[in-house]
Subunit: 416 residues, 2 copies
């Protein structure tokens, strides 16, 4: 086990070289509840759509030939021999010299090949005068003209939104094959943390990370498998990690990765299988003690215990893997330009991420104001920050007023 | 009942003058499943956080006064009288001249008021030499310094993301009061539509709108109440609308709003209560026959049957109301600039929305290409369009190559 810190890019490359996102398999979803799922197969239409030729106008279904040469002075005169309503199979045939009354959307009756608009006709009882010639197929939406039977309408990997679900409904489907949602085991370690909802013993604090990371997993398109706080001993942790590995597609722990005598997470993770730990500390601030392992093909992230650090490293390095496991495009974090609200210093030789809050100054300029994190461990930093500013390894600071790019944790639409 | 078409802005004003989004009430949510819910109350901390003063360093808890004047040559010498581990209540007191070994995160023992870093000390058995003076509270995160008991930490109306859920976990909570999700009844009408999953009788097509609109409701922060296809008679429709009004906070129908003899939705809606229909047709294309009513405080949207028109009017006019009912900020539709792929014509005197697909041309310019909708009723238009371009009432067309603003239906991150 080596302990050389990697640069941020080295860590990304180490992850990329191990990570082989393979299909997680698929499952059937009820179409009405398939919003935001990923389509697991190409969908081929089993129907012509429309399934019959339909009128696109209110008027009369006729043989176009019967109207040839008609005009205002010399109308074609046809015999109305029936009516076709919407939603009904026509029971009439249109013979030469005949017309059938029809409404928009109703099927074109046998024998007819066009629809003359009601505005171009005059009717006296069963006698119809047509004042304009029409061409075959005029005002007709042909059977299969929208979708042909056998045509591929949606592709594997498409994310199901309102339009896609609408198209599947058009085919008469009520179920759809979607990719399984990747299961992400989330567990917290550390002798000082207690699970929310339990009494708080003296000397302990409530665990935050299993909650905040589980939520971030959901937000990233994964399904969190909440393991909560694992008791602070090697055997319990080892057992929990084994269980997490068999029950999930990826594991995320937090806490227990510093250098204290009881920070044995990395050691246990490394013993779980090959290749084991591939990133053992990253030259970033915060988040330095992060370790990342692969056990078989499953990624195991061991994040720092500090809630803000844990969530930051999650967003930077774990979230893209969850998106890929889910078969989704890896969405870049949204960014916005702002002016630094005060000078922000970097940690020597480490890429530094400074948590900032967005606000407008009195000149309506957007300002990225560093969130005072106070002592390390402050949890309010999390709730106050809208995002972070990145300071490269080779820069000492970002000056007040300098333009910075803010990577956003959340939708700030209501705020800016 | 009047039939004068309103302009788009008149319709918006008519809606705004009737719509009074009042609180829908609240419900308890399990914190781990509260992602993306809206907080229904201010949350006040019931704890000091941290609940005890903690060390922020590995070192020794001491009385700061005992180190005053210490330096490299004249270290202060103290007696180590115990150790405090993380997660444990200290069982030692620090008297004058004493020090207690402590790790990061562990509680400061009684009597101590500062922590000297291990790097600034040298230890021989129980004797500790301190080479630097420290001030009171140095390396101590004081009880309540992050959050004070009684302090308001989150405000009513905040949307719960990973940070907010993390903060609630820090308070030891596992449940949270959230705003109820607005229930939106969705039903389709029209003699030609059959529900997906059922056999398709001759002359009928599968209903799309109840599926696509239900999905769009979910996407907008509402909960769809799926009524499916209502049989095509007045009594059934009247019954379904009554039921929809009592079981939901808003009702959306589609189909049955044209001028055909069986398009009696508006008539029935208007009879349901006061004020009744406030928008009876809008000078837009597509979507002209849209009618909008309020029955008491509940909005009732009657959208056209054409799936693309229905979804477009939903996005433009219904979605903002659902967002407000849900207590969420009304998110403007995302937009992107592109060059018109060909000339797009407007409908005379009507604000025209042209469905477009985004693509790059060979010079890597982003192009908004009109989606050929073929005959009205084409459902593939929906799946092909990425968004729409708006042509104002007083313009005849948008020229090919002209810059246009595309309003996006969906996230096109994967595409552009």
């Amino acid at each position: 086990m080596f302990r050389k810190l990697m640069t941020f890019e080295e860590a990304q490359r180490a992850i990329a070289s191990q990570f082989k996102p393979s299909a997680l398999g698929e499952e059937e979803a009820v179409l009405l509840e398939a919003y935001n799922r990923v389509l697991a197969e190409d969908v081929v239409s089993t129907l012509d759509i429309p399934p019959f030729s339909r009128s696109t106008m209110d008027g009369y279904a006729v043989k176009a030939e019967d109207t040839f040469g008609a005009d205002e002075n010399q109308p074609a005169t046809l015999k109305v021999c029936g009516v076709v309503n919407i939603g009904e199979q026509p029971h009439v045939n249109v013979a030469k010299g005949e017309a059938v009354e029809i409404v928009t959307g109703a099927p074109i009756p046998e024998g007819a090949n066009a629809v003359v608009m009601v505005e171009d006709t005059e009717r006296e009882d069963s006698e119809l005068h047509v004042f304009t010639p029409i061409t075959p197929n005029e005002n007709v939406m042909k059977c299969g003209s929208d979708i042909k039977k056998g045509e591929a309408v949606l592709k594997k990997g498409q994310i199901l939104g309102s339009s896609e679900i609408g198209v599947l409904a058009a085919l008469g489907l009520t179920k759809v094959q979607v990719s399984r949602i990747p299961m992400i085991a989330v567990l917290s370690t550390g002798g000082e943390v207690t699970e929310p909802g339990k009494p708080l013993p003296p000397g302990k604090i409530y665990d935050i990370n299993a909650y905040s990371i589980s939520t971030a997993v959901t937000e990233s398109g994964g399904k969190p498998v909440y393991f909560g706080v694992v008791p602070d001993d090697k055997e319990a942790l080892s057992k929990a990690l084994h269980l997490a590995l068999v029950s999930a597609d990826m594991v995320i722990t937090s806490g227990g990765v510093s250098v204290g005598p009881r920070d044995y997470t990395p050691q246990i993770v490394d013993s779980l299988g090959k290749p084991g730990i591939v990133v053992y500390g990253i030259a970033v601030k915060p988040g330095k003690p992060t370790t990342i392992a692969f056990i078989g093909e499953k990624p195991v992230f061991s994040l720092p215990g500090h809630p803000t650090s844990a969530l930051l490293i999650f967003y930077l390095l774990a979230r893209p893997l969850i998106q890929q496991l889910a078969g989704r495009p890896v969405g870049a974090m949204k960014t916005i330009r702002a002016a630094a609200g005060s000078r922000m210093f970097s940690a020597k030789g480490r890429r530094t991420f400074v948590m900032v809050r967005l606000m407008f100054d009195k000149n309506c300029r957007l300002i990225a104001d560093p969130v005072e994190s106070g002592a390390s461990g402050a949890i309010t930093t999390l709730a106050k920050a809208d995002g972070f500013v990145e300071i490269p390894e080779n820069e000492q600071f970002v000056d007040s007023d300098q333009e910075v790019l803010v990577f956003l944790f959340r939708n700030v639409a209501g705020k800016v």
